[in-house]
Amino acid sequence: MRYAKPVLLGRGALSAYLVLVLSLVLLFCKGISQSATRAEVQPTIQIPSNVAWTEETIRLASGGDAFRGLLWSRRCSHCHGSEGFSEEGGIPDLAGLDRLSLWKQLQDFRAGKRRSAAMQPIASGLSDQNIADLAAYFSMLPTSPDPQDNRAFPQPILDRLHTSIAVRLVVFGDAARGIPPCQACHGPVGFIKGAPSLMTQNGTYLRNQMQQFSDGSRANDINVVMRSIVNQLTDVEKTSLAEFYGAGPQSAGGLHP
């Protein structure tokens, strides 16, 4: 057997390797010069929340035991209701919220990243395991009413103008202002980590939170998402959205299944 002489050896190949090495060196030099010119002063760092959605955090937050959460939840039921639906408007309904958002809010209360006179002292007494257990319990509570319950609930009467404003924002958002549709993150069309479902939330609480996001008293959203959106909403739009979500899944004209 006689083998052919490889093509890439000899003087021509040497220059080819030289070209390769040169281009690599040039690439590295570009990187170094870029990093050298970026020496600059950083402003003081504000950290909105200590929670970051790493694999480890998600494992901790979703690894709770719902039965232990049930035992701990006797402290919560005084304000948030025995079935996760509160009697008072300003207090959020926790039934059926997902584990990650419950975990994040309790962690932020505990770290002082979200302020509340009622919740901060309570959350400071909870461990990571307690928080995961509570999140597991509340996420398992049903959001639909008991089918055997025959009481007639008064249906809220919605303002038609407000409803149309809200439906437009919920379904389409407003591209001209860069406002994404609410349902892309808060369900039911899509969910992102840490964004709670708003389907069964009460309206007064939602209106308060939107106000707090826009005046800066609540700033625990990661990467300025909610502050950027809510700051562009007018007062009428905030009220409309709160009324729309607060009216519950039944009165939304079949928008929410």
């Binding site: 057997m1 006689r2 083998y3 052919a4 093509v7 890439l8 050896l9 003087r11 021509g12 190949a13 080819a16 070209v19 390769l20 281009s23 690599l24 690439l27 590295f28 570009k30 990187g31 870029q34 990093s35 010119t37 970026r38 020496a39 600059e40 002063v41 950083q42 402003p43 003081t44 760092i45 504000q46 950290i47 909105p48 929340s49 200590n50 970051a52 790493t54 389409f172 958002g173 407003d174 591209a175 001209a176 860069g178 994404p180 549709p181 349902q183 892309a184 993150c185 069309v189 899509g190 992102i192 990661i222 990467n223 300025v224 998402v225 502050r227 950027s228 959106i229 700051n231 562009q232």
Partner: protein, 190 residues
């Protein structure tokens, strides 16, 4: 037997072009084709980042440390008088939502993504910047015309993609003359 002998004969006598300095031409052509292919298939980003090294970030922890913390976003002036803009693309929002850049001066963009792959495009120009989670995409762009231009996302990133749009405000350079080194400016409502 016949097949192997014919193979040997073709190997034993390469075309004349490859024998005298042909290796050089061949490798240059191959290198050029490779670079073109990298551009075309948009795999330039990971490879260049790997070579440069410092352009890696953790997409889940942007808000905790590093250059993409929320107080560092927006337009900054560097020590040498050049401008740097830092933005985060995420589902379904660019932060900051409105950025201010000077006209007629090259501006360095540093964009990363917190979740999916996004494409920050500049309406009215052929430019766009790909934002991929874990990597910082850099681009040096110059805007000549003053005014306000939309910057939509041009890669489908989820159900809220169609409303994902930021604004670019190109202003006279004098308006940014008094920017301090620790200041970051945007035109987003905060």
């Amino acid at each position: 037997m016949n097949a192997s002998s014919s193979l040997q004969s073709t190997n034993a006598s390469p075309p004349g072009m490859l024998r005298k300095g042909g290796g050089f031409i061949l490798s240059v052509v191959l290198l050029g084709l490779t670079l073109l292919a990298l551009r075309y298939y948009e795999v330039d980003l990971p490879i260049y980042s790997l070579l440069e090294g410092h352009n890696r970030v953790d997409p889940a922890e942007l808000h905790l440390s590093g250059e993409f913390v929320e107080s560092n976003l927006g337009t900054a002036v560097n020590a040498d008088g050049s401008y740097t803009v830092r933005m985060i693309a995420q589902q379904y929002l660019f932060v900051p939502q409105c950025i201010v850049v000077p006209a007629g001066v090259p501006v360095q963009f540093r964009v990363t993504s917190a979740d999916a792959s996004h494409l920050l495009s500049f309406s009215g120009t052929p430019y766009s910047i790909q934002a991929a989670p874990g990597y910082v995409s850099t681009a040096e762009l110059t805007f000549d015309r003053e005014g306000q231009f939309p910057m939509p996302c041009r890669r489908f990133c989820g159900p809220g993609h169609y409303a994902m749009r930021a604004q670019l405000k190109v202003v006279n350079r004098d308006q940014l003359a008094n920017l301090r080194p620790y200041e970051r400016i945007t035109c987003a409502l905060r």
